[in-house]
């Protein structure tokens, strides 16, 4: 039997190497990801890196940045009374508004999780404020909280309580914007809680009921533990949002012009950053402020994440 050697084989046209299926799939994926990656790098990564650099400079926007090392940070902690004012205002807002918004959102979600006629309409009504632009909702609340003609004070007077100064008062201005943020901010958290509630297995609730647990006990020992992952998520998002509160303070505090609310009581951290960057031509200092806020937020988020081991209960897998 004659053997066929390679030389005897008919010439075959050499095909161009084809990309493997895997490579083509990867490239396609990256192609689709490219716009997002580009925007991430250009509009998030670059500003963050630039901001870090600016935080170590004296930079007015109108002049080239001049390297000053850590001077901005020294000024911030030792020589800017408004810094500590803004920190205190923001801490007040965070410590009051975050728990309050979670409790209110959870309460609303529990109410709206009932089987009732027209429940969809109620859900829509309670969610609608979160779709409202912040400036519009703040302007609405400025009218409602007007010390003289606002409905809130009229209501307080109707039940025999004194009129409050709200945004005209250094003591009541922050509760005023917390009230605003509750109205506009709880809708989204409420919706997430509602989704979480739908995931609570009815078999567990029924079992608890058979065991004689009343409504409060079922909520306390079944629903809330199973909702802890949702609470955890909402908590982190609320903390981040509360640190970044700007719109209501900006609008209610007259844009931070001259001062943000009576005795600068609405001077929130973000407003301080904004004022330094665009009113005082201190973009370097504003960048330093932003960097510190970023570090604090990361630290707080990590602390919450670490603490979650002890209080967040997952249905499956590790706690």
């Amino acid at each position: 039997m004659a053997s066929i050697t390679p030389a005897d084989q008919p010439p075959v046209a050499r095909r161009a190497p084809r990309l493997s299926k895997q490579l083509r799939r990867d490239l396609q994926a990256y192609l689709f990801l490219a716009p997002w990656l580009f925007s991430l790098l250009a509009f998030t990564a670059y500003p963050m890196i630039a901001s870090f650099y600016f935080s170590l400079t004296k930079y007015s926007i109108l002049n080239p940045p001049r390297w000053i090392g850590v001077d901005n940070f020294v000024t911030m902690f030792t020589n800017d009374p408004l810094y500590w004012k803004a920190v205190a205002n923001t801490a007040y807002y965070t410590f009051v508004s975050v728990p309050l918004s979670i409790v209110v959102a959870l309460g609303l979600a529990l109410l709206l999780n009932q089987r009732a006629r027209g429940i969809g309409i109620y859900r829509t009504i309670y969610y609608l404020p979160s779709l409202m632009p912040v400036v519009a909702s703040t302007l609405l609340w400025l009218v409602l909280l007007d010390p003289r003609l606002g409905l809130v004070n009229i209501g307080l007077q109707a039940i025999g309580l004194p009129k409050l100064g709200w945004l005209s008062s250094a003591d009541w201005s922050k509760p005023g914007i917390i009230l605003m943020s509750l109205w506009t901010g709880t809708g989204s958290a409420m919706l997430i809680f509602l989704a979480g509630l739908k995931d609570v297995p009815s078999s567990l609730l029924e079992a608890a009921m058979i065991d004689g647990a009343n409504g409060w006990q079922r909520l306390r020992h079944v629903t809330i533990p199973l909702l802890t992952p949702t609470i955890f998520f909402n908590l982190i998002m609320s903390i981040i949002a509360s640190f970044q509160v700007f719109g209501p303070a900006y609008v209610a505090g007259d844009g931070g012009a001259r001062q943000a609310g009576p005795l600068n009581s609405l001077l929130m951290y973000m407003l301080l950053i904004y004022r330094n960057a665009f009113r005082f031509f201190e973009m370097g200092y504003a960048s330093a402020l932003a960097l510190v806020m970023f570090i604090v937020l990361v630290a707080l988020t990590l602390a919450v994440v670490r603490s979650s081991d002890s209080w967040v209960h997952y249905e499956v897998g590790r706690r």
Partner: protein, 470 residues
């Protein structure tokens, strides 16, 4: 096969990301490089090569103008002003844009300047000194020297000074709405006080005494006020200081004078006024009414305050629904003369403007003859002394009479001769914010006038020194 797989991996996710990061790293470095020198045009102000004349703009040019006006009335005025300018200067077209309203305008303008793409002309409500001290405006003194109308002596001195920084002029003021005390003629009449300007109190003590006649308090709540000088319109503070012989900022010495004895006395006077007539509690007073200004919703507008401060523009803008009069500010215990403050519309040419000559012609036009169009709509007192007195604000003429409009017009124009020097600090906004906060602390009884003003002085001087250092 194995070779193929390896080849795939070489172009895999990590490699792709590495390539992307490498490329973007280079882009970031390049961008950082740009960021490090975003203000190439902000070196020493370039001086124009030759004095400009109308003829110097030979070919057709298009000016870019960052315009900050956005109200319905201004939208009516702007095409008329620009149209008239283009008619008089057929070689120049004006392309105006509104990069934002309020603070967003400043953000947009800063971004344009920092990005090396400044407009040829920008309108400012913020003092030009803040921009000029940071090297971002063109000095126009040489242009002014050879200008047909916008010569240095053609403007009220204090008003022109508001465009200057270290002896150079960085813009033109088209208007300078002066502040005054608006009075409710009927309320004053009922108290037996004449609407005649000569009969109006000439000292703070007399004004305070007059104010007391109108104050009514029910159940601890102020129902009606005479005059509440310490609420709102903080842009008038330099005038209040000057009325008492003080000064807030001394531009010649590059020094703040916030904690002078006269200023401490001024603020203590206000605290006593608050105590004597309004129960001493600013927050309760604020809850009881909006005592600031003359606009709708203000106590003055609602007939609950006999007097209030406001700028000249309120003569038409505030639509006061009753007979009113405007009065000069009285003099404080340590003062010797009445002063007013003013708030201009400034027109500037940023460094790096592509058409500086044409830009100057445009700002010269709007700051002089062109303002006639504006003034017919809004009573924003012209800063040009040559402004024809026969040009009146139509609305005021229609609401009152040509004689009355002329009278008010003349009052504000004359009062500008006694305008205090203001808006001249490179840290003006910071200092105004600081001073306002300090006065607020005093009126809210958190600090003594002496302590609060001393702290404000130290803060503002430190910021000024730091800014001057560059």
């Amino acid at each position: 096969m194995g070779h193929d797989t390896h080849g795939t991996n070489r172009f895999g996710r990590r490699s792709f990301l590495r390539a992307l990061l490498g490329g973007s790293g280079a882009a970031l470095l390049a961008a950082c490089g740009q960021a490090a020198s975003p203000a190439a045009p902000t070196a020493a102000p370039a001086e124009p090569a030759a004095p400009p004349t109308v003829e110097s703009v030979s070919g057709p040019v298009t000016l870019t103008w960052s315009n900050r006006y956005s109200t319905a009335t201004t939208q009516e005025i702007l095409p008329l002003m620009v149209g008239e300018f283009e008619k008089q200067y057929p070689n120049i077209k004006v392309d105006y844009e509104n990069p934002g309203v309020g603070d967003a305008y400043v953000e947009g303008l800063l971004a344009k300047i920092a990005g090396g793409n400044p407009p040829d002309v920008a309108t400012l409500y913020e003092p030009p000194a803040e921009f000029a001290a940071r090297g971002s405006l063109l000095a126009i003194d040489d242009y002014m020297a050879s200008a047909a109308t916008a010569k240095p002596d053609a403007f009220y001195p204090s008003v022109l000074k508001s465009t200057q920084w270290q002896g150079k002029t960085y813009g033109l003021p088209s208007s300078a709405g002066a502040g005054a005390i608006y009075t409710n003629t009927a309320m004053l009449g009922a108290a037996g006080v004449s609407a005649d300007r000569d009969a109006f109190p000439k000292t703070w003590d007399d004004l305070k005494a007059l104010s007391a006649q109108f104050v009514t308090v029910t159940d601890g709540e102020v129902q009606q006020a005479g005059f509440v000088p310490f609420v709102g319109n903080s842009w008038l503070y330099p005038a209040w200081s000057a009325m008492n012989g003080g000064q807030i900022y001394d531009s010649a010495a590059n020094a703040y004078r916030i904690d002078s004895d006269q200023n401490v006395e001024w603020i203590e006077y206000w605290v006593k006024w608050l105590d004597d007539q309004y129960g001493g509690n600013l927050e309760q007073l604020t809850i009881a009414g909006n005592w600031a200004g003359t606009y709708p919703d203000s106590a003055f507008h609602l007939g609950r305050a006999a007097m209030a401060t406001e700028g000249s523009w309120a003569s038409t803008d505030a639509e006061i629904p009753f007979d009113w009069e405007v009065m000069r500010f009285p003099v404080g215990p340590s003062g010797s003369k009445s002063f007013t403050a003013f708030w201009p519309n400034w027109w500037v040419i940023p460094q790096g403007a592509k058409q500086p000559e044409a830009a100057f012609q445009f700002i010269e036009f709007v700051a002089t003859r062109g303002w006639e169009i504006w003034y017919q709509y809004i009573m924003d007192t012209p800063s040009w002394r040559g402004f024809p007195p026969s040009v009146l604000t139509t609305k005021l003429v229609n609401q009152t009479s040509p004689e009355r409009a002329t009278n008010v017009n003349t009052f504000f124009a004359n009062y500008l001769e006694d305008a205090v020097e203001m808006w001249t600090s490179p840290v003006e906004t910071f200092a105004q914010d600081t001073l306002t906060a300090a006065i607020d602390e005093v009126l809210n009884k958190r600090k003594s006038a002496k302590d609060a003003l001393a702290e404000a002085q130290a803060t503002c001087q430190a910021k000024l020194d730091e800014t001057l250092k560059g």
